[in-house]
C-alpha cells in the first residue's frame, strides 16, 4: 500500500500552505482524485481535505453576476433556480455531465480541474509514454486510437481533449476563476499543451480555486448546451456546444453571440471566429451554416477523429438554431 498523509485543513490558509508541499493533492468531492488514484495516475504524498471548509459552497446571484463557491456540488448548481433562469446553458451542461451519483458528490472546483479521459494518460502501467504525466516521455496517443481525442489546440506532444461540460459554458460566458489573491478569466485559466502538456492551468503552487464568477448577460440568459454522444447518459461528449445569443431590438440581427466547444479541444474552447462572423448579421440557415464551419478553423484531425471536423459545425449550427428559435419562434 502506498501510504499518504491525510490533512484535514481547518482554514483556507492552512490548505494553501499544505498544497505547497510537493506531491500534495486537494480532496473535495473525490470523484476525480480517487478515480485517478485507482488507475495509478494520481499518487499523492499528502491529501489535503478541504471538503468541510466553510464559506466555499454558496451560490449567489447578484445584479451583475452569479458566483459559485468552489465546494458547491454539481447537482446543487444545476438545480439552482437563479442559474437556470440567468444562464440555462450552465445548468444544462451540468445535468448532461457524469451521472446523478457523481453530480451529488463532485464539486465545481474539482469539476473544472478534472483531467482528460485519454486512455493512454490513464494507463501508466502499459503506456509509460505520456508527456502530461511524465514530461518528455512522448505521447502514446499519437499513432494510437484517437476517436475521442482533440482536433483543436493539439500539439505534437499531446492530443488529450478536455472532458469538461460545465467548462464549455464557462468559457462561452466569460466566467472568471477566483483564486483568492487573483482573478483569472476562464479562457486564460487553461493552457494549451504546446510542449508542456503537463501544465494544464495557470495555477501556481499554493493556489486553489475559491470560486467562479459568471457575469450575467443577455446572451447567457438565452443560452443552451448541446451535447452529442452515442450514449444518452453518462458519456463524454463526441462534441458539444454552449451557445448564447442576444439579438438587436429588431429581433433579427445578432448583437452578441457566444460559442464554446467541448469534446474536441485540448482546453475548453471559445469559437470566436464563429461569433465574429455572426455579430451584426441577420440569422438565416445559410449564414448560420457558413459561420459554424469556422468553428473548425485550425483543426487537425487524427486517423480516428476526422468525424469531429464534420460534426462540430453541425452541433454549433443546431445550438444556434435552438437559441434563435426559442426567442422568436422561428429563424428570422
Amino acid at each position: 500500500m502506498r501510504d499518504f498523509s491525510y490533512l484535514r485543513a481547518s482554514t483556507l490558509d492552512e490548505a494553501r500552505q499544505a498544497v505547497l508541499q510537493a506531491g500534495a493533492s486537494i480532496l473535495a468531492g473525490g470523484t476525480t482524485l480517487i478515480d485517478l488514484a485507482k488507475c495509478g495516475v494520481a499518487e499523492p504524498e499528502t491529501v489535503v481535505d478541504i471538503s468541510h471548509l466553510e464559506g466555499l459552497s454558496g451560490i449567489e446571484v447578484t445584479p451583475q453576476s452569479v458566483t459559485i463557491g468552489a465546494l458547491s456540488r454539481m447537482s446543487d448548481v444545476a438545480d439552482h433556480s437563479g442559474i437556470q433562469a440567468e444562464m440555462p446553458a450552465v445548468s444544462e451542461s451540468l445535468l448532461l455531465a457524469a451521472s446523478a451519483q457523481l453530480r451529488n458528490m463532485a464539486t465545481i472546483g474539482g469539476n473544472v480541474m478534472q483531467r482528460t479521459r485519454c486512455p493512454y494518460f490513464r494507463d501508466p502501467g502499459t503506456f509509460p509514454a505520456c508527456n502530461k504525466r511524465n514530461p518528455g516521455s512522448g505521447c502514446s496517443a499519437l499513432g494510437g486510437i484517437t476517436r475521442n481525442h482533440a482536433v483543436l489546440g493539439t500539439s505534437e506532444h499531446c492530443l488529450a481533449s478536455n472532458p469538461g461540460d460545465l467548462a464549455v459554458a464557462l468559457v462561452a460566458f466569460d466566467a472568471v476563476v477566483d483564486l483568492g489573491s487573483r482573478r483569472v478569466p476562464f479562457d486564460e485559466f487553461f493552457l494549451l499543451p504546446g510542449d508542456t502538456p503537463d501544465r494544464e492551468t495557470v495555477l501556481q503552487p499554493g493556489e486553489m480555486i475559491i470560486g467562479l464568477s459568471i457575469p450575467k448577460s443577455a446572451a447567457a440568459k438565452n443560452s443552451t448546451y448541446l451535447k452529442v454522444r452515442d450514449r444518452q447518459s453518462y458519456e463524454f461528449a463526441a462534441a458539444s456546444a454552449a451557445v448564447g445569443l442576444e439579438l438587436e431590438d429588431d429581433g433579427r440581427t445578432v448583437r452578441d453571440i457566444r460559442v464554446g466547444l467541448g469534446g474536441v479541444a485540448t482546453k475548453p474552447w471559445r469559437a470566436r471566429a464563429v461569433e465574429q462572423a455572426l455579430i451584426g448579421k441577420v440569422l438565416d440557415d445559410a449564414t448560420i451554416k457558413a459561420a459554424s464551419l469556422l468553428a473548425m478553423e485550425g483543426a487537425v484531425a487524427q486517423s480516428d477523429n476526422t468525424y469531429k471536423i464534420d460534426l462540430v459545425p453541425r452541433v454549433v449550427a443546431r445550438a444556434i438554431e435552438t437559441v434563435s428559435t426559442d426567442k422568436s419562434g422561428g429563424l428570422a
Partner: protein, 763 residues
C-alpha cells in the same frame, strides 16, 4: 457461521408454476443482505493482486520482485518461476487427452493483459500497490493483433461446423435476385455487475472456494483436477451471483493462482479481479466476420444461402463463435452452404456470451434477409413469412413447437407494422429520421440431467436442495413454485437452498438449459416426496389415516386428507408429528434408469458429456423470437436512439412470466448495447484493450432504453422439458442487433454492416 440460510418466500398468493411471483431473493440483494463471494468474513485472510502482461506476444525473461517483496505487508510473490504443481484439467466434455503441468502464470505471453505474476499481501491495498512494483522483462515476438491484421490470414477451417445440403453455389448462381454482403461484429464483453474473484481456504486436504459460479459441480471438478485431488474434497459455494452471462461457468487462471497461493501460504487467500482485468482474465464474445449471399426468385422465394464465417480465437485454443448457428434453421431453403473458420490472434480465448453463436449468426442472416427484401422491394415481414420454415431443413426433422409465425404476426400487430412505409428515409419528425426494422432470433433447447432433493421437516416446511445456481434469472423462485405445485403445498411453505457443490448435482446454468433441467428434477423429487408422504400416512403406525380404510390420500394446499373427503385432515407438521419423523428426505435425478452408477452421476453433474442438443431425438427443438424496433436518428449528428420495441417470443410454457419477461428484456437491452454501443477497442500497436472500464466500454443506461413490450406466443412443449418450457435466457438478445441495424437502414438509407453503429458511421 451459517453459510446459506434458506431463502424464504413472502407472498404465496400467486405461486404455482406459471404464477408471477417476485424473485424472493430480490429483497436480500436490494438491502445488501445477500452475501457475495468476496464478502464472507474469513479469519486470517490474505489478499492477492494480479500482475498482467503489457505486451501482446513474447516470453517473460525475468521478473524482478525485489521491490514488491520489500513493500509493506507483502507475504509472497508468484511468478512464472514458481512451479505451482498443477495439472491440466479435463475439458467441458470431461476429456483429458494428456496429463501435463498447468501453469496459470505462464512464461509465454499470448496476449496483452495475461496474468503473469501475483502478489499476496495482508491487505488488498498492499497487494495492489506492490503489484505495480513487479518489474517484468520480456523478449517480444511479433503478435497478430486482430482478425483484421494482415498477418492473421484466413484462419483454420472448422470441419465440424461445415453445413450443407442441395447445391448452394449453383442455385445461387441461377437465382434471378441475389445479394451478398459482409457483416462484422467487434469483441464484446459480459460486464457483469459483480466482477470476478474468489476466496480460497484450505482445511487440511479439503478446499473451500467462495466464487460466483454458473456451475458449482463442474467448477469443483476442474479445480480438483488442477490440484490432483478428489472431487469430493473441493467445495464451491455460490449462493448469489451478480450476473454471469456466460463468463462464470469455469474456473480461470486467476482462480488457480489464488488457490495455489492459499496452499503455499497456509492461509485463506482472496483475489479480486479488478474491472480492467475483467476484460482480459477471460474471453468475451469473439469478433466475427460473415459473408452471406442469398439467392431468391423474383417473387422472393429463397433459393440458396451461402454463408462463410470467420471468428477470432486465441493463439492457444480454438474457440469457434458459431456464426453459422442460426443461419440454417430460420428459413425454408433447399440449397445451403456454411463454412466457419477460426482466426488465431493474440487475445485471451473468447468465450460464451449471452446467445453464443446464435447471436452473431442471427445478426448476419437477419441483416441479409432485410437487404434481400429491399432488393425485391418487398415488405421484410412478408419476405420472412413467405420463406417460413415448415420443418428444420438442416436436420430434416419436424419442429417440436415453432410459433415463430405467430411471433411475427402478433408482434407486427402490436407494433403497428402495417403503418410502415417501404421506402427508406420516408418517415421523419423534423430533423429526426424514423426507421422500423425486424429481426428474428432463435436458441436451441439444450437438455441435461439434474438431481434434486426435497426435505420435509418436522415443522412442516419443505426444503428444495440443489447445487444449481441463481445468477439473477430466478432459480430460487421457480424451484419453489415447482416443488409447491408438485407436492401440493403453498409456496410460502417452501424454502430453497442453492449454490453449493456439496448439494445435489445439476447442469450448468448456461445455454438456457438449467431451468428445464432442474425443474424436471425438482418435479420428480417432489412427486416422489408426495407419494412417500401419502404412503407413510396410509401405512405407518401412529398415522390417523392408517385405520380409516382409505386407499388413497391427497395433498392439497398443504393439507393431507382422504381424496374422497371426510376423515382426518392434517397439515404436514401434524403428519410429521403423527409419524414421529424429524425429517423426510427424497433425492431424485433425471438420468436414464440404466445410467445411474456413481460414475454416470459424476459425469452428469461435472461435465457436458450427458448434454443433448436440439436434434438429438426425433424432433428439432428451439426457442424463437421476433423483434420489432423503432429508431429515431438525428440526421445531422448520426445519433441513434431506440424509441420503441415490441418483441414476441415462443419459449414454450413460462414457469414464471414475470421473471421470464425480465430475462427477455435484459437480453433485449444487451442487444441494444451490442447494436449501438459495445466494442472492445484494441490498440493496434500492442494489443491492449484500451477501454477496459465502465466509463469507456459503453453499455446502455436507463436513458437509452425505451418501453419494451414483450409478448409470449409459446405453447407448452413437453418434448423440450418436463414442464413444457423452452429456454428463455439466451434468446432475448438474439435478433435484436439486426432489427436495430435494419431500422437504421429504413430510417437513413444507409446499411451499416459493422457493429456497433456509432454516430460517425451515419454522418
Amino acid at each position: 457461521m451459517t453459510i446459506m440460510p434458506p431463502r424464504k418466500h413472502g407472498d404465496a398468493s400467486d405461486g404455482m408454476v406459471g404464477g408471477r411471483l417476485t424473485r424472493f431473493e430480490g429483497s436480500l440483494k436490494l438491502t445488501g443482505a445477500a452475501t457475495y463471494a468476496l464478502e464472507y468474513p474469513i479469519d486470517n485472510l490474505a489478499h492477492a493482486a494480479l500482475v498482467q502482461s503489457t505486451i501482446a506476444a513474447g516470453r517473460v525473461v525475468s521478473v524482478d520482485v525485489t521491490r514488491a517483496l520489500a513493500s509493506p505487508g507483502v507475504l509472497m510473490v508468484l511468478t512464472p518461476e514458481d512451479d505451482l504443481g498443477l495439472r491440466v484439467s479435463a475439458d467441458w466434455q470431461g476429456n483429458r487427452p494428456e496429463d501435463k503441468p498447468y501453469h496459470p502464470l505462464p512464461r509465454e505471453v499470448q496476449f496483452n493483459g495475461q496474468s503473469i505474476a501475483a502478489v499476496i499481501a495482508e491487505s488488498r491495498e498492499q497487494a495492489t500497490e506492490a503489484a505495480k512494483l513487479v518489474v517484468v522483462t520480456y523478449e517480444e515476438t511479433s503478435p497478430v493483433m486482430s482478425i483484421d491484421d494482415p498477418a492473421a490470414g484466413e484462419g483454420k477451417l472448422m470441419d465440424n461446423l461445415t453445413i450443407g445440403w442441395g447445391d448452394a453455389e449453383a442455385a445461387l448462381a441461377a437465382s434471378p435476385v441475389r445479394i451478398e454482403s459482409e457483416y462484422s461484429t467487434p469483441r464484446e464483453y459480459h460486464c457483469a455487475m459483480e466482477p470476478h474473484g474468489l476466496t480460497a481456504k484450505w482445511d487440511g486436504d479439503e478446499l473451500t472456494i467462495w466464487e460466483p459460479s454458473q456451475w458449482s459441480h463442474g467448477m469443483a471438478r476442474m479445480y480438483a483436477e488442477w490440484f490432483a485431488m478428489d472431487y469430493e474434497k473441493v467445495r464451491i459455494i455460490s449462493p448469489y451471483i451478480g450476473g454471469g452471462f456466460g463468463s462464470k461457468g469455469q474456473p480461470l487462471a486467476y482462480g488457480a493462482v489464488a488457490v495455489a497461493a492459499a496452499r503455499k501460504l497456509g492461509r485463506p487467500v482472496q483475489l479480486a479481479v479488478t474491472r480492467p482485468q475483467n476484460f482480459t482474465s477471460y474471453g468475451g464474445r469473439a469478433a466475427t466476420r460473415q459473408t452471406i449471399a442469398l439467392g431468391a426468385s423474383e417473387d422472393g422465394v429463397l433459393q440458396a444461402i451461402v454463408h462463410r464465417g470467420r471468428t477470432e480465437t486465441s493463439v492457444y485454443m480454438d474457440y469457434p463463435e458459431q456464426t453459422g448457428a442460426a443461419t440454417p434453421i430460420l428459413y425454408k431453403v433447399e440449397n445451403f452452404s456454411s463454412q466457419s473458420r477460426v482466426v488465431p490472434v493474440n487475445t485471451v480465448t473468447p468465450g460464451a456470451l449471452r446467445g453464443p453463436g446464435k447471436n452473431p449468426s442471427a445478426y448476419g442472416i437477419e441483416s441479409a434477409m432485410e437487404e434481400l427484401a429491399y432488393k425485391l422491394d418487398m415488405d421484410p415481414l412478408e419476405l420472412r413469412l413467405k420463406n417460413y420454415a415448415d420443418h428444420d431443413y438442416q436436420s430434416g426433422k419436424p419442429w417440436s413447437t415453432r410459433m415463430l409465425r405467430e411471433a411475427l404476426t402478433q408482434g407486427a400487430a402490436a407494433f403497428g407494422w402495417e403503418k410502415r412505409s417501404q421506402q427508406p428515409r420516408s418517415m421523419r419528425d423534423g430533423k429526426t429520421l424514423i426507421g422500423w426494422g425486424i429481426g428474428c432470433g432463435t436458441f436451441p433447447v439444450i437438455r441435461a440431467p439434474s438431481e434434486a432433493m426435497i426435505r420435509v421437516l418436522a415443522n412442516g416446511r419443505v426444503e428444495v436442495v440443489s447445487g444449481s445456481i441463481d445468477m439473477g434469472q430466478g432459480t430460487y423462485t421457480i424451484l419453489a413454485q415447482t416443488a409447491a405445485e408438485a407436492l401440493g403445498v403453498p409456496v410460502s411453505q417452501v424454502d430453497v437452498l442453492l449454490g453449493d457443490s456439496r448439494m445435489p448435482g445439476s447442469s450448468i446454468a448456461g445455454g438456457s438449459m438449467l431451468a428445464g433441467s432442474i425443474t424436471g428434477a425438482v418435479h420428480k423429487a417432489a412427486i416422489a416426496a408426495r407419494d412417500e408422504l401419502i404412503g407413510l400416512a396410509l401405512n405407518e403406525t401412529g398415522s390417523p389415516f392408517r385405520d380409516t380404510g382409505a386407499n388413497t390420500l391427497s395433498l392439497v394446499g398443504g393439507r393431507i386428507e382422504a381424496s374422497r373427503g371426510g376423515g382426518p385432515s392434517l397439515s404436514l407438521q401434524e403428519l410429521m408429528q403423527a409419524l414421529g419423523r424429524d425429517e423426510l428426505e427424497i433425492r431424485r435425478n433425471t438420468l436414464a434408469e440404466n445410467a445411474q452408477t456413481p460414475d454416470d452421476q459424476k459425469q452428469a453433474w461435472t461435465t457436458m458429456s450427458k448434454v443433448q442438443g436440439p436434434t438429438s431425438g426425433d424432433l428439432s427443438m428451439h426457442s424463437w423470437a421476433a423483434h420489432f424496433v423503432e429508431v429515431r436518428i438525428d440526421e445531422d449528428f448520426g445519433t441513434i436512439r431506440v424509441s420503441r420495441m415490441v418483441s414476441a417470443f415462443d419459449c414454450g410454457r413460462l414457469y414464471n412470466p414475470k421473471l421470464v419477461e425480465s430475462q427477455w428484456k435484459g437480453g433485449i437491452i444487451m442487444g441494444i448495447g451490442q447494436a449501438l454501443l459495445e466494442e472492445g477497442v484494441v490498440d493496434p500497436r500492442n494489443g491492449r484493450t484500451i477501454n477496459s472500464n465502465m466509463a469507456d466500454y459503453l453499455v446502455p443506461t436507463n436513458a437509452d432504453i425505451p418501453d419494451i413490450e414483450v409478448i409470449s406466443v409459446g405453447v407448452p412443449d413437453l418434448d423440450a422439458s418436463t414442464l413444457g418450457g423452452k429456454g428463455v435466457g439466451e434468446v432475448g438478445i438474439v435478433g435484436v442487433a439486426p432489427a436495430i441495424a435494419n431500422a437504421v437502414f429504413h430510417a437513413t438509407g444507409k446499411r451499416i454492416r459493422d457493429l456497433p453503429i456509432t454516430l460517425e458511421k451515419l454522418m
